[in-house]
């Protein structure tokens, strides 16, 4: 039997040839599809490529019109790149390593409009959901800065039209409730002390003891032999009187303490009245904003939002540059779906990392026109060096810098620079941003969801820096706000005068915490003048209302307060009088010691 089937070899060559020809013809489309899908999953927004050409013999890639949609605004692009070209290193590619020696990114533009929606297709949305880790669900810095809002001032005008009695209708006052319960406490004290008085020796008992003592004093024995028995009797009686005196004194002290408590608790009513006023004001929705709140609403919130966005972008970027690991240490494999298994990665002992972009040069789209909301540059140039999946193998940090100026004199000077150093296990990254004379000009009115205070125009000098060491964040954004003009919506018209002639000020946003739990702290030089201005405003606008409510509460409560005070005084007089009277009866006559007993009869001192 013949073992070889030569026709089979021909069929094999035909099959392999067909596969090769098919790949060559459709390779561009295949690569384009893969790049679009993978980039969309990485960015979390639709990434589209207008045209991709891969020259297999020159190993060069030329991408035209790359658009990265904005996930929050599907009809806009976050970034648009006119042209992106690079060559792949041939030797590293043999080892399945992508090394780009030089990449040219031309015609960069931000926040450009799209013709079609950039929402992710359903199949990619599902993949993205499956990939999401709990920590990816959004980085949010400290809530206070991000979520600061101004109180609803329009409510104040409505309240002014209503009387304090009307505003207090149906409100349960804590001070009134306290005074309602107070007589019960007085009654309980009265009952206790009446019972106690019954337990103590009565006036009659005391008088009887004192008389007996007096009588005994007069019946001094003449016979010395009877003296010890006599003295014993005298001492016993005197001890009884002394004990009575002691008990009455203790009772008197205890009663006074209890009365003091009752009186002190009555003083609490004043505090409860103030608390009632505050609680009523709070329930009416009248809140006084702090100066920090104003600055926060005016600018801090916007800056915090941008800082959060930058932190989110940084987190996304750092996912693609692994932290440095010793060469022998293996990376932990990630689980992947069924029938696909997972790729175990082994240490790279020599040569190139899996991915390396040695140099990328950027330039912005020339002659861009100034448009609302578009981050357009008149000139922009920059470079990125040493972006790699394995910084420890590459041995150098990733460096980047961008310099330029914005269209229409929007910003005189823009500079972004930084370095990502992931060579060691604890990454040390730094980003610096400097914008000189950034012109803010906002026209039109705010939407229903927008802030009632807007910085209509100003000149900003922005100086920001962010350092990341491991997970810890340490950064600061400093803004010099020159010649600010604040637009105040009708809902916050009350603040109009206060913010009308606001001078230049600065704002500082301190960034701390960790990448998972960032915290933002806001401070501003405008806080002090605004605080005093706000105090005056509040006094003027709200004091009358607050005083009216306070007066009504007082009128409701003060009558009961006086009645309760009288009740306590009456009780005090009654019990204290009785105790004092009984105590008065216990005093023994002095200086009448029996003859011959001087010096040894204590009762006759």
């Amino acid at each position: 039997m013949k073992m070889i089937r030569w026709s089979g070899l021909v069929v094999f060559i035909v099959i392999v040839g067909l596969i090769t020809i098919f790949s060559l013809f459709f390779l561009d489309g295949i690569i384009k599809g893969i790049v679009e899908d993978r980039a969309s999953l990485a960015v979390g927004a639709k990434v589209e490529i207008g045209d991709l050409r891969f020259k297999i013999f020159g190993l060069s890639v030329d991408i035209q019109n790359l658009q990265v949609a904005n996930p929050e605004e599907p009809m806009r692009n976050s970034v648009e790149i006119g042209s992106l070209a690079f060559d792949l290193g041939a030797a590293p590619l043999l080892k399945k390593k992508i090394v780009i020696e030089r990449m040219k990114v031309l015609d960069l533009a931000w926040n450009t409009p799209r013709k079609t929606s950039g929402a992710l297709p359903l199949r990619l949305q599902k993949k993205l959901e499956a990939q999401k880790k709990p920590s990816d669900l959004g980085v949010k810095a400290e809530k206070r800065v991000e979520e600061c809002v101004l109180p609803n001032f329009s409510i104040l005008a409505d309240l002014k039209k209503r009387s304090p009695e009307e505003l207090l209708k149906g409100v349960n006052l804590r001070s009134a409730a306290f005074l309602g319960d107070y007589p019960k406490k007085v009654s309980a004290a009265k009952e206790t002390w009446e019972k106690r008085l019954k337990e103590l020796p009565t006036r009659e008992d005391i008088q009887k003891d004192v008389k007996s003592f007096q009588a005994l004093k007069d019946q001094r024995p003449k016979d010395l032999a009877q003296l010890p028995a006599y003295l014993e009797k005298v001492n016993a009686l005197q001890k009884k009187i002394n004990d009575t005196q002691k008990n009455l004194t203790t009772a008197q002290q205890e009663f006074q303490t209890e009365m003091n408590h009752l009186k002190t608790s009555l003083q609490e009513v004043e505090k409860l009245k103030d608390a009632d006023v505050k609680s009523v004001m709070a329930k009416l929705g009248v809140q006084i904003p702090s100066a920090t709140d104003l600055i926060c609403v005016l600018l801090g919130k916007e800056v915090a939002h941008k800082v959060n966005w930058a932190l989110g972008m940084y987190r996304k970027l750092s996912q693609y540059t692994s932290k440095g690991k010793p060469k022998e240490e293996k990376e932990n494999p990630k689980p992947v779906p069924r029938m696909k298994g997972m790729d175990v990665r082994f240490p790279i002992t020599r040569g190139y990392p899996d991915f390396l972009l040695e140099l990328a040069e950027f330039s912005a789209r020339p002659n861009m026109k100034k448009a609302s909301g578009v981050f357009a540059f008149e000139k922009l140039a920059g470079e990125l060096r040493g972006l790699t999946s394995h910084p420890a193998i590459y041995g150098k940090p990733t460096l980047f810098r961008l310099n330029g100026s914005m269209v229409g004199n929007l910003a005189k000077d823009f500079a972004l620079a930084g370095q990502f150093d992931h060579r060691k296990t604890v990454a040390e990254d730094r980003i610096d941003l400097n914008i000189k004379e950034l012109r803010i000009e906002q026209t039109g009115t705010a939407g229903p969801q927008e802030s009632p205070l807007r910085l209509a125009s100003a000149l900003l000098n922005v100086n920001g820096s962010l350092g990341v060491k491991g997970e810890a964040l340490d950064g600061r954004v400093l803004l010099d706000v020159l010649n600010p003009k604040v637009a105040v919506e009708s809902s916050a018209a009350i603040l109009g005068d206060l913010l009308k002639n606001m001078g230049s000020f600065n704002l500082s946003l301190a960034i701390g915490g960790t990448l998972d739990q960032p915290s933002l702290g806001l401070s501003s030089s405008a806080t002090k003048p605004l605080t005093s201005g706000l105090e005056n405003l509040v006094q003027k606008e709200m004091k009358g209302l607050q005083d009216g409510i306070k007066n009504v509460i007082s009128s409701r409560v003060d009558k009961d307060l006086t009645a309760n005070r009288n009740e306590v005084s009456g009780l005090e007089k009654l019990i204290q009088g009785e105790l004092s009277s009984r105590l008065g009866l216990t005093s023994l006559p002095t200086g009448t010691a029996p003859k011959g007993t001087k010096g040894f009869l204590p009762g006759f001192k």
């Binding site: 039997m1 073992m3 082994f346």
Partner: protein
């Protein structure tokens, strides 16, 4: 697809060496168990086409083992994971492969691929031997009974079968 299967049935009923059929069946198992687009399957295809093994048996086994692969996937993953990560003595070899030219394109570092390839290589001889045994037994015990089945006789008398027989003769003459 139908043609190779009919060809297989014909071959079972012919004087064809049982080793050709069982070798085809065993070779078809490899792309059946392992991911189809893996580079080693080109080699398997070359062997199937170049050596005189039964293509019908290979295709049938590819389909059967592909279904079985879905069930055995977790086992393949575990085998692959064990070999790639837990056998200390192999780590040097894998690392060398990972850093060698062209080898990374074989996707040897994929757990399912490694597990299924090792599993199919281990199962190769038992499947080959079992296939051969079954062909021999079939011919000894069942072939006569099969031919006597009414449905087979009806099928053989049908126009479809006659047409197919004529077509096969023409093909053989042309080939």
């Amino acid at each position: 697809m139908i043609q190779p299967i009919i060809s297989l049935i014909r071959m079972m009923h012919s004087e064809t060496d049982p080793r050709q059929i069982s070798l085809g069946f065993a070779l078809g198992m490899v792309p059946g168990f392992t991911p189809l687009t893996s580079p080693h399957n080109l080699l398997v295809l070359l062997v199937i086409l170049f050596f005189r093994v039964n293509i019908g048996a290979a295709m049938l086994s590819w389909g059967v083992f592909k279904i079985l692969a879905f069930v055995l996937d977790p086992l393949f993953h575990q085998i692959g994971l064990f070999l790639l990560t837990r056998v200390g003595s192999l780590q040097g070899l894998w690392t060398a492969f990972y850093n060698a030219p062209l080898v990374p394109y074989t996707r040897f570092n994929n757990t399912v691929l490694m597990g299924s390839l090792i599993f199919s290589l281990l199962a190769f001889y038992p499947v080959y031997w079992g296939g051969k045994f079954m062909v021999v037994k079939y011919r000894e015990i069942f072939m006569e009974r099969f031919n006597r089945l009414k449905i087979v006789q009806v099928f053989k008398a049908s126009d479809v079968y006659k047409w197919y027989s004529r077509y096969s003769k023409v093909r053989r003459l042309a080939g």
